[in-house]
Symmetry: C2
Subunit: 163 residues, 2 copies
DNA sequence: TATTGTTATACTCTATAACTATA
DNA sequence: TATAGTTATAGAGTATAACAATA
């Protein structure tokens, strides 16, 4: 049921106009949009039995250089202890192997398995579809422009090794 | 069916490029950017002793129509029980008053106090500065374009009453 | 019967500290 | 001494269910 607002936002006589509205805050809009696309992607991934963070890890391992658990933690802004649990799960699913790095035997090198690649492919499809739906209101050029702007905003705040 | 993939990206000669890198995912970039600006804003607000969500609530109350706690929950994607705790805190700080809505005595109308407005003003300054720094890499036109695109992406997924 | 605000509770997620093995 | 990974645990944050008052 909708509320009947007796007083309009822009102050029809009474209500004082605020200096900043929520919708004026680029940062707020960014957060709201991020939340919605994350929800959409999470919902899409449910159909293939995967969580979003799991998908991010698979993508990171598939696309980049060799990564250790610490690398993953830094890259995805996860706590190292969270990565342990995640990789445990991925290893149980045989999507990832831990291989000791001979150059530094403290580290594991995380290796995507064939099965992991297969799971990733299926996940990529549903996520790509979800993104296409979400960014549907934008033209291709606009979306490319947003992509470019976001990358520039992230410049220097991204762990060196990837991207 | 097993791990016959010595094809991993460790092979210097034959590293297969992934179909999608993390940086190709507009959704991922959106999330990363949102996380960073939220962190920046949170850090900026520390200097005035305020949390980001608190700031969002103050902004919502200052700028919009009368809001109940349920309205706030829907607007800011918060759980109604979380809003109770938040408003409790704001009432202790005398930034907000709960007034029974005579038209529907189940609801409170949340009213910003003068002291709340003062706190909001101080917070607006530091958040505006943090946003200016974060979006510094963009031209004014670009930032306006992003603002416009974000609003279009949120269209229809925003509670009707506000924005 | 449905909704607002509330409390109590359970659950999930994340952060902290300590330990090991390597460097 | 410092770092990677691990474990156990504490803490924050969130969701769930039940309830009273009101519609």
């Amino acid at each position: 049921m909708e509320r009947s607002n007796t007083v309009g936002r822009n102050g029809q006589g009474l209500s004082p106009r605020a200096d900043f509205l929520l919708a004026d805050r680029t940062g707020y809009l960014l957060n709201k949009a991020a939340m919605l696309i994350a929800e959409d992607a999470e919902r899409a991934l449910e159909t293939v039995g995967m969580r979003l963070r799991y998908f991010f890890v698979l993508t990171s391992l598939a696309g980049g250089p060799e990564l250790s658990q610490q690398d993953l933690a830094r890259l995805l802004n996860l706590d190292p202890t969270t990565v342990v649990a995640l990789v445990d799960e991925m290893e149980r699913n045989q999507h990832v192997e831990r291989r000791r790095n001979p150059a530094d035997r403290r580290r594991y090198t995380l290796v995507l398995t064939e099965s992991g690649r297969t799971a990733l492919s299926a996940a990529e499809q549903v996520v790509t579809d979800a993104e296409a739906a979400f960014f549907g209101p934008l033209t291709g050029a606009e979306r490319a422009g947003m992509q470019d702007m976001l990358i520039r905003l992230l410049e220097g705040r991204w762990p060196s090794s990837v991207c």
